[in-house]
C-alpha cells in the first residue's frame, strides 16, 4: 500500500475558480476579494507547478460569484488570471480580467504628501499607461510605476 498522501483539490459544485495566478500574487488576491471575511468553503493552492507560469496559485471559492467591478481590481496585480464560473460542476463561463478605468481603494498612493495618506479619503487611481500598467493618483497626480504599486 502506498504511503503517499495527496491533498485533493476537489471540484466545486457552484462557485468561482481563479486560476493562473502568479505565485507572489495569490494571497494579495485573497485580500482584495475579501476572502478573509468569507465563510464559504475556500481552497487555496500556491506554488503549484504550471507549464505557463512556472509556479502558480489557484483559489476556489464555493457558492460565491464576484461582480465585474470586484474582479477587475485584480488587474492591478495579476492581469492574466483566468476566472472559471462553475455551475453544477461545469464551467459555465470563462472570464478574463479587464483593467478598470478607475480603481477605488485597493491601491495605496506612494506619495507621502498625498491627501489620501492624511485624511479619511479613499484612494482613486486611473490607468496612466495601459502597457506599462502604471497608475496615476487622481488626487495628487503622482504617477506610480507598476513595481511601486502597494496594496492598502
Amino acid at each position: 500500500m502506498s504511503d503517499k498522501k495527496e491533498l485533493e483539490v476537489s471540484a466545486i459544485e457552484n462557485g468561482t475558480v481563479i486560476d493562473h495566478i502568479p505565485a507572489e500574487a495569490t494571497f494579495k488576491i485573497v485580500q482584495i476579494l475579501g476572502l478573509y471575511e468569507c465563510d464559504s468553503a475556500i481552497t487555496i493552492g500556491n506554488n503549484l507547478n504550471s507549464k505557463t507560469l512556472g509556479k502558480k496559485g489557484i483559489i476556489k471559492v464555493a457558492d460565491r460569484f464576484f461582480p465585474d467591478e470586484v474582479i477587475n481590481r485584480l488587474a492591478v496585480i495579476a492581469p492574466n488570471v483566468t476566472l472559471n464560473i462553475i455551475r453544477n460542476y461545469q464551467i459555465a463561463e470563462k472570464k478574463h480580467v479587464k483593467f478598470p478605468k478607475i480603481i477605488r481603494g485597493v491601491v495605496k498612493c506612494s506619495n507621502p504628501k498625498c491627501i489620501t495618506n492624511h485624511q479619511p479619503v479613499q484612494t482613486k487611481m486611473e490607468v496612466f499607461d495601459a502597457d506599462l500598467k502604471s497608475l496615476r493618483c487622481c488626487y495628487c497626480e503622482r504617477v506610480m510605476r507598476h513595481e511601486e504599486i502597494e496594496l492598502l
Partner: protein, 304 residues
Amino acid sequence: MDHNFISVSDFTKEDILSLLHDAAFFEAHPNSRLLEGKVVATLFFEPSTRTRLSFETASNRLGARVIGFSDPASSSTSKGETLKDTIKMVSNYADVIVMRHYLEGAARYASEVTDVPIINAGDGANQHPSQTLLDLYSIWKTQGTLDNLDITMVGDLKYGRTVHSLVQAMSFFSPRFHFIAPQLLRMPNGYRDFCRRHSLPFDEQEEFTEKAINETDILYMTRIQRERFSDPREYEQVKNVYCLKNAMLEGSKPNLRVLHPLPRVNEIAYDVDDNPKAYYFQQAKNGVYARQAIICRMLDIKVD
C-alpha cells in the same frame, strides 16, 4: 473644465484662450463690479501672502466681499477638524472657495465634497494653476500670440512647479523648449516624456549662454534653492551660474521678455530691472487680472 479650477491637466485649449480674453478685459476694466453680492472665501492652510493678496485684490476690485483665514493655526484645523468638514462648513457661507493647502490633492478632494466652486491656489508641490494662467497671459500679451514660440526655462527645473505646469499648458501651442539647468536639477523624466508624447521639440544644456538668450522669445527664470542640495559645496558652485545680468541681454530679440514667478533672490541681477525686457513685476500684476477671470468663470459670470 467644470466649475472647479484645480489643475492644468483639466485645461483645454479653448479654456485657456477664453480665460486669457477675459483677463484682457479685466486689465482694461479692473474695477468692474461683477461680483457684487458675492462672498469669496480664501482658505490658506499654508501661508502665501503674495497669492492670497492677489486673489483678495481680484475679488475686492470686482465688488465681492472676502472672508477666510491665512494660517491654519487660527482655524478649526488646529482642533483636528478634517478638511472635508471645514470645506462643508465654509460652503454655507461663500459662493466660491480659493484654497491653498500643504497636502497634494487637497483641492481636488475639496471639489468632491462640495458644489461650491473650488479654486486651487496651490496644493503642496503639485499644482498652482492660477500662476500658470498668469504666466500664459504674460506670454500672450507680450508676444501677441501663444503659438510657435521659443521658450527657455532656467534654474530649478526638477522641483519647479511653475515650469512643469507651463510645459503642460503650452503643449497646445506648438512651442519649442530649451531647458537650462544644473545636472542635479534637470527637467524630470516625466516631463521630457510628456514633450516627446506631444511632439514638442526640446533641448537641454547645463550652460546658461548668451547664445541661448539671443535665440529665444521667453526667458523664464526660476530660483535655485539651497535646500535642494545635500552638498552645500555643490550649491555654491551652481548658485551664480544661472544668474541673469543685464549685459547678457544685449544681443537678445526685441520681443524677448524675462519672466520669473517670484520671489527672486539672486537669479536676476538688479541691473536687469530697468531693462524694458524685464517683465516679472508686470507678470505679478497680471495675476490680479488672471484671477479675476478665473473667479468669474467659476461663477458663470459673463465678462463683456
